[in-house]
């Protein structure tokens, strides 16, 4: 065996050089977005790893689809037909309401309602870090997604894009402990801010006055304040409220509507139709 440390600097020297470099990178990455574009460009290399490891699951799904029995398919077909009928009826009603709403808004000289354009994307991976709630989807800048694009599923808002590569993007879920979203109560339009807790099934309302009119079961919608999320999408439902007169604020726990850990397909809302109250 060759003798140790014959070439190059000693391990101590390397450690003393590389540790401060790593710390500098961490601090720079945390406080600036210098590496954002590098990460986005490299996502074409890093994201396929998620895609590869997700393959067994997809094969299982595919096999499940292929080998389903005729009865099951017929049953599903029947159910879907009924659902389509129901939804069509509802959307007809909605069309009338929408026309009326647009007319009223025109009367009030307020902003025009435009339909949001949505894009269906598939979830291909989940962040390996248990402390962050990040999903990887198979759509990116090539499909019109940009940083900040809101993402939802059939039942509610999920989160927003934090990194948009050409064909892959990362989504920060609203339940991540670093995320907050402006909301309003459907019943009385009271505004609040819903913060993620790091728990997939819980949000909490921040700085809620003890006397505020909010009840268990209230539905929270995105308010559109801040201009990041479009207004009017369901965020969650109030589960419990703790009012302690000794505390300056009441505490409200919210169950998110979007199915954070179970959605295979998500909808990216591209081209917000100007429904937000503020723009950036």
């Amino acid at each position: 065996m060759k003798p140790l440390f014959t070439r190059g600097p000693s391990p101590e020297f390397r450690l003393l050089l590389l540790v401060p470099l790593a710390i500098a990178l961490i601090v720079a990455d945390h406080y600036t977005n210098w590496f954002q574009s590098t990460r986005e460009r490299l996502s074409g290399v890093t994201a396929p790893l998620y895609w590869i490891t997700g393959a067994p699951e997809r094969v299982g799904d595919w096999a499940g689809e292929q080998f389903r029995s005729r009865e099951e398919l017929l049953e599903e077909n029947d159910r879907l037909k009924r659902q389509v009928l129901l939804l069509e009826q509802r959307s007809q009603l909605l069309a009338a309401v929408k026309a009326e709403n647009t007319r009223l808004k025109e009367l009030m000289n307020s902003a025009e309602m435009v339909d949001d354009r949505v894009l269906v994307a598939q979830v291909i991976g989940v962040s390996p870090d248990p402390l962050e709630h990040v999903l990887l989807i198979d759509k990116g800048r090539d499909h019109g997604i940009d940083v900040g694009t809101p993402v939802m599923d059939a039942s509610g808002l999920l989160g927003q894009v934090i990194e948009a590569g050409d064909t892959f993007s990362r989504i920060l879920l609203i339940t991540d402990s670093s995320h907050a979203i402006p909301v309003q109560v459907l019943r009385n339009s009271m505004r609040a801010v819903a913060e993620g807790t790091g728990d997939l099934y819980r949000l909490k309302l921040r700085h809620l006055a003890n006397t505020s009119d909010i009840r268990e079961g209230d539905l929270l919608l995105s308010s559109g304040l801040g201009g990041r999320f479009p207004a009017g999408y369901p965020v969650g439902e109030v589960m419990s409220i703790t009012r302690d007169p000794g505390q300056p604020f009441a505490e409200a726990e919210v169950l998110p509507r979007g199915r954070m850990s179970r959605s295979r397909f998500v909808l990216a809302v591209i081209g917000d139709g100007g429904q937000g109250l503020a723009s950036e």
């Binding site: 065996m1 060759k2 003798p3 140790l4 014959t6 391990p11 101590e12 390397r14 450690l15 590389l18 540790v19 470099l21 790593a22 710390i23 500098a24 990178l25 961490i26 720079a28 990455d29 945390h30 590496f35 990460r39 490299l42 890093t46 790893l49 998620y50 590869i52 490891t53 997700g54 699951e57 991976g125 989940v126 962040s127 390996p128 870090d129 248990p130 402390l131 962050e132 990040v134 990194e163 990362r170 402990s177 670093s178 790091g198 997939l200 850990s261």
Partner: protein, 159 residues
């Protein structure tokens, strides 16, 4: 180092990166072994004259880019881990399997503590000693993975 050694090392690292991002149920995420850390200990202990702190740092940067962690998190943790492995590789080689297992637990524990420190800096806090679970699972993997890799190495004449 020969070309086939380079390829073999690259292959093991690629597999470990796949295992890093392999989907797991939410409640199992904490028990995922730190596969890159395991490999860094193995390779530094096996070829201390060729692989060391710089190698571990690079592996860490790649892991950061893939896992989406703050750039430098794993680079820092793995560089420190490699330094301690380098200091003790002669003793590690002489240890019996149980001692090795314990020592791997300590080394990966150091790696986890550094990672946890960076998480704390970012405001992501963990209660208690949850963050040490990967150290335990990695240590339990060591008695299986290390002999397997040693055998593959001698078969492929990796030096």
């Amino acid at each position: 180092m020969q070309a086939n050694s380079r390829w073999f090392i690259a292959l093991t690292l690629f597999l470990s990166m796949l295992l890093v991002v392999m989907p797991l149920p939410q409640q199992w995420l904490w028990f995922r072994p730190a596969f890159p850390a395991l490999l860094v200990i193995f390779w530094v202990t096996r070829m201390p004259q060729a692989l060391g702190v710089g190698f571990a740092w690079l592996v860490g940067i790649i892991e950061d880019l893939i896992s989406g962690a703050s750039l430098g998190t794993h680079a820092l943790a793995l560089a420190v881990l490699a330094y301690f492995s380098l200091l003790t590789y002669q003793r590690t080689r002489a240890f019996n399997p149980a001692q090795q297992l314990l020592w791997v637990f300590v080394l990966v524990g150091i790696h986890q503590v550094v990672g946890n420190w960076v998480h704390g800096l970012e405001g992501k806090t963990v209660s208690g000693l949850t963050f040490l679970w990967p150290a335990l699972t990695t240590a339990l993997l060591w008695p299986w993975v290390a002999p397997l890799l040693h055998r593959l190495c001698s078969r492929l004449q990796v030096r």
